[in-house]
């Protein structure tokens, strides 16, 4: 039974040296360059701990030809191809206009070479983003991306290249498409990552039976949404075995569409929880997750979200 005088549970969380006002983080590629969801009445930046900006490359990228998105059972495929205006533009024209007092904004860095990753880190170091997520797991571009993420040694090298270029926390986003995620996590931790994002999308495709062509312009795309939730939980579980030893926090993600999902991710070991595709189902999802989290924590006599993290029973 909840204690009648129990205080409202504390939903703020420490993450990679930062304090997030909420455990919910809006995921890269789902929320544009930070402000799109504020169009929706009832959406509040204050409900989220951080907003991760769309994947950014050194030079502008047009992205892939349509179709770029397609609904699949319990989820969707996307192959946006990192459409973005380039790092300099983001810093000069986008970041100055974001409401940094309402929430934190993180960059999502994408390089085609170690040098490029390093340069992006150096440029974002002198900017108001409070952290840099390293995307070594984008499945939708020909160069870079998942090619780094699939090789544990290369993944570590990307972190190593960026580490000296910035004092900001680095959060490495791991791919579920590689064989041994724990091994990749270990290399990234040894190279100095401050946090891990688990997981990015799984690679998939869809076919139009009339034209007999792939539906996605890029042929393959990244699968997200509830379809990947069991994979995400398992990969978080595996990653945590390594990360917890080094006190490295995990931003758990992949198919969260309810408070119950968020609680499962917390129990499995998500120090913060990411929401992407879930916003497409319900743009007001964050407020609902927070309410369910508070109810759950009160009911279980817990004082904070943190108390729930990693409480998986064997």
């Amino acid at each position: 039974m909840p204690k009648s005088d129990s205080p409202v549970p504390d939903l703020s969380v420490p993450f990679a040296g930062l304090t997030l006002q909420s455990p919910i983080v809006l995921l890269s590629g789902c929320v544009g360059f930070g402000e799109e969801y504020t169009r929706v009445e009832g959406f509040s930046n204050k409900d989220v701990g951080a907003v991760i900006l769309k994947g950014t490359t050194l030079e502008p990228r047009m992205g892939n030809a349509p179709h770029r998105v397609y609904e699949t059972p319990s989820g969707m495929l996307n192959a946006i191809g990192l459409q973005n205006p380039g790092t300099r533009y983001v810093i000069d024209n986008i970041l100055p206009n974001l409401p940094h007092s309402e929430t934190q904004f993180w960059a999502n860095a994408n390089g085609t070479s170690l040098e490029e990753y390093a340069e992006i880190a150096a440029i974002f170091d002198d900017s108001p983003v409070t952290a840099i997520e390293i995307n070594i797991s984008c499945p939708n571009v020909k160069e870079g991306g998942v090619h780094f993420g699939n090789d544990p040694v290369m993944a570590g090298k990307v972190v190593e290249a960026m580490r000296p270029m910035t004092k900001k926390p680095l959060i490495t986003k791991l791919s579920p498409n590689n064989a041994d995620i724990a091994e990749t996590a270990r290399h990234c931790i040894e190279a100095g990552t401050d946090g891990l994002s688990v997981i990015n999308t799984l690679v998939g495709m869809a076919v139009d039976i009339e034209s007999r062509k792939p539906i996605i312009g890029n042929i393959s795309g990244g699968l997200s949404g509830p379809a990947i939730k069991p994979v995400a939980l398992w990969k978080i579980h595996q990653t945590r075995a390594v990360a917890a030893k080094h006190n490295i926090p995990i931003l758990g993600q992949g198919g969260i569409t309810s408070g119950k999902d968020a609680i499962e991710f917390a129990i499995t070991g998500s120090d913060a929880i990411g929401v992407g595709t879930g916003l497409f189902y319900d743009p007001l999802l964050c407020g609902k997750i927070l309410e369910e989290l508070r109810d759950y924590l009160s009911k279980h006599n817990m004082e904070s979200y943190q108390e729930l993290v990693g409480t998986l029973q064997s």
Binding site: E36, T38, G63, P66, T277, L279, F280, P283
Partner: protein, 289 residues
């Protein structure tokens, strides 16, 4: 450009009517007061057809009644999502996000707006026509290969260039003093036999030069039809605006999933159909230029 806050509303909309028509079409009236109060012609809603299909479907707004808080939609069931939507019952509710998108620009009162709609692209044309202040100079041309899902009646106004057998118009428009004509290849009584852009072209060619130069073409419908409309616009040197469709995920500008290629000041770009459109000037679209 910084997005405007609190301009899109998430509502649990009650289905007030769901009337089935031939050709897998249905007209749905839903209660969504906030969308009804603020929607403009060309905008659309993003709705969840059922719990089974949580990714939403974009559907144009055909008409609103701001006082009663209702929104009318015309949908053609073409796949699983729209088929689930067709089976929804009066009294049920569904999540609706709207109104979304950059509307048609109807602000220049010196212009004569010529509205050309095809199939389930007719709804935005109806909304435009009802919105225009100068109803007398507005003309709606609508094309369909299946029975029109509207009440029809002989139009009372004469239109230059339009043959004597092409007499039917859309009742709800005619009653408000808006002239309309229909086209079909299906041999329907009272309709122009052929494609709707050709009907519109006949009309435009019959106008005197001064009248024609004041015309602006607005269009929504299947791709081949939009191509034909764009050709007419180019041939006659008339500004042409097209409402486009593309697969969508978020429909509020977050995912860049819904893009169309544009060329602006010589530079190729992918623009988001949901918030940069769905209405684009044809001359900016290489596919239609």
């Amino acid at each position: 450009m910084t997005p405007q806050r609190n301009t899109i509303f998430e509502e649990s909309a009650e289905i007030l009517a769901n009337v089935h028509h031939p050709g897998d079409q249905f007209v749905m009236r839903v209660k969504a007061p906030k969308t009804a109060a603020t929607a403009e012609p060309g905008q659309f809603v993003h709705l969840q057809v059922s719990d089974e299909r949580p990714m939403r479907r974009p559907i144009s707004i055909m008409l609103t009644d701001p006082e009663k808080g209702t929104v009318d939609l015309l949908v053609k069931a073409i796949g699983e999502g729209t088929r689930l939507l067709r089976e929804r019952k009066v009294g049920e509710t569904m999540p609706i996000l709207g109104p979304i998108g950059r509307p048609f620009d109807l602000s220049d009162h010196s212009k004569r707006y010529v509205l050309i709609g095809g199939g389930v692209g007719i709804p935005p044309m109806i909304f435009c026509a009802m919105h225009l202040i100068d109803k007398a100079s507005t003309v709606v041309f609508a094309g369909s290969e299946v029975e029109f899902p509207f009440a029809l009646k002989p139009s009372t106004a004469l239109l230059p260039g339009v043959g004597g057998n092409t007499i039917l118009g859309i009742t709800s428009l005619e009653e408000r003093g808006i002239t309309s004509r229909l086209a079909s290849n299906a041999g329907f009584y009272g309709c122009y036999e052929g494609h709707v852009p050709d009907l519109a072209r006949d009309y435009l060619l019959a106008l005197n030069e001064e009248e024609r130069s004041r015309c602006v073409l607005l269009s929504c419908g299947p791709h081949p039809m939009l191509h034909a409309v764009a050709r007419v616009g180019r041939e006659l040197g008339l500004p042409t605006y097209l409402s486009l469709e593309e697969h969508m995920a978020c429909a509020i500008g977050g995912c860049a999933g819904c893009v169309v290629k544009t060329v602006e000041e010589g530079e190729e770009k992918y623009r988001r159909v949901c918030v940069d459109g769905p209405v684009f000037e044809a001359s900016l679209l290489p596919e239609f230029a």
